[in-house]
């Protein structure tokens, strides 16, 4: 740390080096937050989580039978006695607006630039656009088949939402016009994962049950940009129709914050890192990562841009969240705290904070441990909660010792 500071003072390295390395280090130290806790709102699995662009409002979609959506304010404590329990700011139930109330919310997503709009999809095969202030559905898109995932474009030039479902094609819904602008066809099986490129706003990656990951340019409607090949063309035939990215259906896709890499996760229990520019498999070995959500979209989360000196990818595996070094494939840590499968992840865009929701209806906040404070502060702390952390060997062991020695 001191070395880094000196280096920065001396101008030996780039200015972003210090914060990024520190951020990376902090991100790799994530643990269950002792200060922040989110109130329990959902009564069933938390299927989807998303933080807004400022990282303050966390929206969660629950698997309760009338699907429920809650918006948590992570910056305002609502808890008791110093514990930072984030209260539910707004909540809405599916009973109000969903036509078919017997379906759980599968995906919720903020509008990438604002908290005025959020979109949801649920088992009722609707993509719904909500006005956050009125908490009303302003637009609905009906689909014939179940929707696995939808992603709103982060770009500024268009407001397209890509929807992948059981229809073997990607529908692009335009929020401005309220209609589907066009359709990307190329998969032979339902599309389970979608990701907009963070570098180029027209590039969309899609993963499907036909084991393929395809990169699209939405301006080029007649075909995909490229189909990712797990063997980089070395083993399989050059026919693009048979090149596959995974040995199983692809249900997780995520671009790195800098847009240089794409990570895909398949039911073959493999995690693959692709070069987003060339579309080549970088052949980083993450080992076997069990895919515990084979029938749904598996959320992947990258460490924020502020800590991308050593980018870290987070994957929910069972009741844990596994963290891998993106470039080396080493497992950094596993975050365990859920009492059920982890279904959703959300990363703070700036801070080193991770939120995870699981089937135990808990939303957990993972934060790096608080920095070691000077002794004065520590004394204060020990008065408050330090007693909890102290050893309490009773005197009978002492007596016993004395008696024996």
């Amino acid at each position: 740390m001191l070395q880094l500071l000196t280096a920065r003072e001396c101008g030996l390295g780039p200015p972003w080096f210090l914060p990024r390395s520190y951020g990376s280090q902090r991100f790799s130290e994530l643990e269950l937050s002792k200060e922040k806790e989110l109130g329990r709102f959902h009564s069933a699995a938390v299927n989807s989580l998303d933080l807004d662009c400022d990282g303050r409002y966390l929206i969660s979609g629950g698997g309760d039978v009338p699907g429920s959506i809650a918006i948590h304010d992570t910056a305002r404590p609502a808890g008791e006695k110093g514990l930072y329990v984030c209260g539910v700011t707004v909540s809405t139930y599916g009973t109000q607006n969903h036509t078919d109330t017997s379906h759980a919310v599968s995906v919720v997503q903020w509008f990438p630039h604002d908290t005025g709009i959020f979109t949801t999809t649920s088992g009722d095969r609707y993509l719904k656009i909500w006005d956050t202030n009125d908490l009303l559905v302003v637009e609905k898109f009906k689909f014939k088949n179940p929707i696995y995932t939808h992603v709103m474009s982060t770009g500024t030039s268009h407001t397209l939402t890509a929807v992948g479902g059981g229809e073997c094609k990607i529908t692009l819904c335009d929020l401005v016009s309220g209609a589907s602008s066009h359709v990307l066809e190329g998969h032979s099986k339902p599309v389970m994962a979608l990701a907009w490129s963070t570098a180029c706003e027209h590039v969309l990656a899609s993963g499907s049950q036909d084991n393929s990951v395809v990169l699209w340019d939405i301006r080029k409607a007649n075909g995909p940009l490229t189909k990712l090949d797990q063997h980089n063309g070395s083993r399989a035939s050059s026919d693009p129709s048979v090149t596959v990215a995974h040995g199983g259906s692809v249900n997780g896709l995520c671009f790195s914050p800098d847009g240089l890499h794409l990570v895909s996760f398949g039911t073959d229990d493999r995690l693959r890192l692709w070069d987003a520019v060339t579309g080549k498999n970088t052949l980083v070995n993450y080992g076997r990562v069990f895919n515990t959500l084979p029938k749904q979209n598996c959320p992947l989360a990258f460490s924020p841009l502020s800590s991308t000196l050593h980018p870290i990818i987070c994957i929910p595996v069972g009741g844990e969240v596994l963290m891998f070094h993106l470039t080396t494939g080493k497992k950094v840590k596993s975050l365990s705290g859920h009492f059920g499968k982890v279904h959703s992840l959300a990363v703070h865009p700036v801070e080193q904070e991770l939120y995870s929701g699981g089937t135990d209806a808990n939303i957990l906040c993972w934060m790096p441990p608080p920095p070691r404070k000077p002794s004065l502060d520590r004394a204060r702390r020990s008065n408050a909660t330090g007693a909890v952390y102290e050893d309490a060997w009773s005197s009978d062991e002492d007596n016993d010792d004395d008696g024996r020695h």
């Binding site: 269950l32 937050s33 002792k34 806790e37 329990r40 514990l83 009741g319 365990s336 705290g337 859920h338 009492f339 135990d360 209806a361 808990n362 957990l364 909660t385 909890v388 952390y389 102290e390 050893d391 309490a392 060997w393 009773s394 009978d396 062991e397 016993d400 010792d401 024996r404």
Partner: protein, 746 residues
């Protein structure tokens, strides 16, 4: 970390967790705590061992392991960190709330583990939840998970729920109370209505009964009833003179009901004795009256007083004249002398006996009817009302009801005192159960009555004696003995004839019995009786005449032409004619002994064979353990057994005895008996590693298992399959055997 310490720790933990006891050993625990305290590495090691034991599929091991953890958790921060770090797993292994991972057997330990763990987690959460978010999370999760929350509420952890439950229970109970009150109120109003309806009925019935009593036993001076118990008066001349004859009669009744008896000496006879006799008549009817001597107006009495009083008085008059057994006094009386030698004892019965006559029949019927009504209908009803009124706490009505009930009971009691002699109507005084012996009280003149009265007064001691019915009876008997009494006379008359008859009967039977001599009767009884048969038919046929059968001569073939010759019987044949063959089979004697050979089940063979048990050979004497013994004499000794007994000593020393001897010999030589050691070794090989633990691998001996073992054994299955195959083959053959097409196939 030192290997030896690690070894020690693992040994210690294993010993503690595999003890199988529900609680930890104190000294071991202290040792463990001391080791853990000495270094964090030890805590880590213990945690690892703890997790390893917790994962074992044995609830007792898990329980002990968790108890160790519960000891260390409040003491060591490191241990808390480690445990909460893996809290999901620990909770899953310890509470069994995950349906996919239920707690392992045995069940009692599992439920205990569940209970302890949930309680401990709750305590941990209260104490350390602030600093360990995972612990807090875990507790919340347990609280929210259905299975665990049930348990938590069961363990009164979920206080809110408990409070809500108690609130609900309270509300329920108040609702129930209100409902019950409403019901009681409704019932009360019903009871009130019923009472209003039937009160007058009851009262009228009571009144009716009272009036019936009054008719039967008139009451003139109600105030005298109050002094009933103390009333022991011999009516003096004066009082009697004062009071009318009716009053005197009443007093007599009163006295009788009191149970005292007065004896009076009848001093003089007068013509007015008729009244006295009348009084005795009354006594005979149950209302006993002292002799009211010197009273007039007998006809008045007859009218007002008891039923048929006047006529009975006449009757008794006559009787008195007739049955007077002693001529002396009567002649004296006739001659106008006062006979002073006789005491008249009047016994007063305890109960009032009312005799049914045609005059009072209707009254008695009405009385019994109303009594039935009271006893069977109104009394239970009043009781029920009382019950309800007591429940409702209605004071006024309750008092009223109690009064009515006591009235009813009084009346019934009174009725009980009236001993109504049914269907003995028109019987005069002496036939009654307490008919007074008419003593020769000579008709006394008015002048002499004063004397006799005075003599009565001078004998108060006899009047004070209380009588019971028994004493009355005995008195009667005495009277019978006394030849002066009518009882004795009547008894003599009746008794003579009946006695004579009985005597005659007895003599006759005696004659019958002693007809023959004693020896003969016994001989007759001992004679064997055989059914009639051919030997008896030929019994007097001493010449040996042949039986009248036609003997066909076989020399001539022709049936009719053959010569008929006399049949000559030989001596043997003659003897045979008069002889009878009786098959002697002997008498069956049940077997009184059983085999009693020791069975593998530990019991003795219960077979009861006469000579030889099919399983254990000849029956021989055996002791309590079933070992053959010579000393047991109660066992049957058959010839076969006695023959085997000479070589019994060798077999008598059983295996166990040999073993004992062997052991003793080897012990004396300081050696281990080789055979036993071998057995032990074999046993030791099979012995479990941790004897304290319940063996969960042992197959449970359930009926299902036993049946499965039987039914699905290879032999049984094969047998059944064979039978089914054979049946199929037969059916096939029956169906298609005639078809040449199929026959060719064979």
């Amino acid at each position: 970390m030192d290997v030896s310490v690690r070894k020690e720790l693992s040994d210690l933990v294993e010993k503690m967790t595999h003890s199988g006891s529900p609680s930890l050993d104190d000294t071991q625990l202290k040792k463990l705590k001391r080791l853990c305290r000495s270094s964090d590495a030890n805590v880590r090691a213990v945690y690892e061992l703890f997790m390893a034991d917790l994962a074992k599929k044995h609830a007792e091991v898990r329980l002990s392991a968790f108890q160790i953890a519960a000891e260390l958790f409040p003491r060591s921060h490191l241990f808390r960190q480690l445990l909460t770090g893996e809290f999901q797993r620990v909770a899953e292994l310890v509470t069994g709330t995950e349906s996919r991972h239920p707690l392992p057997p045995p069940a009692p330990a599992a439920s205990r583990l569940k209970e302890t763990s949930l309680l401990a987690i709750r305590q941990w959460n209260e104490k350390f939840g602030e600093g360990y978010p995972k612990l807090r999370l875990g507790f919340n999760h347990l609280k929210h998970s259905k299975k665990a929350s049930l348990w938590l509420s069961f363990l009164s952890v979920d206080f809110e729920r408990l409070v809500a439950q108690t609130e609900a229970v309270r509300r329920q109970s108040t609702a129930r109370d209100a409902r019950r009150d409403a019901l009681a109120q409704q019932r009360l109003s019903e009871v009130h209505a019923e009472i209003a309806d039937q009160k007058y009925d009851i009262e009228s019935v009571l009144k009716e009964m009272e009036s019936c009593f009054d008719i039967l036993v008139p009451r003139f001076f109600p105030e005298e009833e109050e002094c009933l118990p103390s009333l022991q008066r011999t009516p003096t001349r004066e009082t009697l003179a004062e009071a009318g004859s009716e009053k005197a009669e009443f007093r007599g009744r009163v006295l009788s009901s009191d149970g005292s008896f007065a004896s009076l000496e009848s001093g003089g006879g007068s013509e007015g004795g008729g009244e006295g006799e009348e009084g005795e008549d009354d006594a005979g009817k149950g209302v006993k009256e002292e002799g009211n001597k010197g009273e007039k107006g007998a006809e008045d009495e007859g009218e007002v007083g008891e039923e048929g009083g006047s006529e009975s008085s006449d009757e008794s008059d006559v009787e008195w004249e007739e049955v007077d057994p002693l001529p002396g006094p009567s002649s004296l009386k006739e001659n106008g002398f006062v006979y002073r030698g006789t005491n008249i004892s009047i016994q007063l019965p305890t109960k009032i006996l009312v005799e049914e006559t045609e005059d009072n029949t209707s009254v008695l019927t009405a009385l019994s009817e109303s009594r039935h009504l009271l006893k069977d209908t109104y009394l239970p009803r009043v009781n029920r009302w009382l019950e309800w009124l007591t429940k409702a706490g209605d004071e006024k009505d309750l008092k009223e009801m109690i009064d009515i009930k006591s009235n009813i009971l009084d009346v019934l009691e009174k009725h009980k005192k009236f001993n109504i002699a049914m269907s003995k109507s028109t019987h005069s005084g002496e036939a009654g159960p307490l008919s007074l012996p008419l003593c020769p009280s000579p008709p006394h003149s008015p002048s002499s009555t004063t004397d006799s009265q005075s003599s009565i007064i001078h004998r108060p001691t006899t009047t004070t004696a209380t009588t019971t019915r028994e004493s009355l009876r005995s008195r009667e008997r005495e009277l019978e003995q006394d030849p002066t009494t009518i009882q004795a006379q009547l008894g003599a008359l009746h008794g003579k004839s009946s006695d004579a008859r009985v005597q005659g009967m007895a003599e006759y039977s005696k004659q019958q019995l002693t007809d023959g001599s004693e020896g003969q009767t016994t001989a007759i009884s001992n004679v064997p009786v055989v059914p009639f048969d051919m030997d008896l038919y030929h019994w007097d046929n001493s010449e040996g005449k042949p039986p009248p059968i036609k003997k066909v001569c076989m020399s001539s073939v022709h049936q009719y032409w053959g010569s008929e010759r006399d049949i000559e019987l030989s001596e043997d044949e003659k003897a045979l004619l008069r002889c009878r063959t009786i098959q002697f089979t002997g008498k069956f004697e049940p077997v009184k002994w059983s085999c009693r050979a020791p069975l593998p089940s530990g019991r003795l063979c219960p077979r009861r064979d006469r000579f030889k048990c099919p399983f254990h050979g000849p029956i021989i004497a055996r002791d309590d353990q079933g070992r053959p013994s010579q000393t047991a004499t109660d066992e049957p000794s058959t010839s076969g057994k006695t023959s085997t007994q000479p070589d019994a000593p060798s077999s008598n020393i059983s295996e166990a005895d040999y073993n004992d001897i062997e052991a003793a010999v080897f012990a004396s030589k300081g050696l281990e008996p080789p055979t036993q050691q071998k057995g032990k070794k074999r046993k030791g090989g099979r012995q479990k590693k941790h004897p304290g633990l319940t063996d969960i691998a042992a197959q449970t001996d359930t009926p299902r298992n036993r049946l499965e073992h039987r039914i699905f054994s290879k032999r049984a299955v094969k047998r059944v399959a064979d039978v089914i195959d054979a049946a199929n083959a037969r059916r096939h053959r029956d169906k298609f055997g005639d078809s040449f097409n199929y026959a060719l196939e064979k």
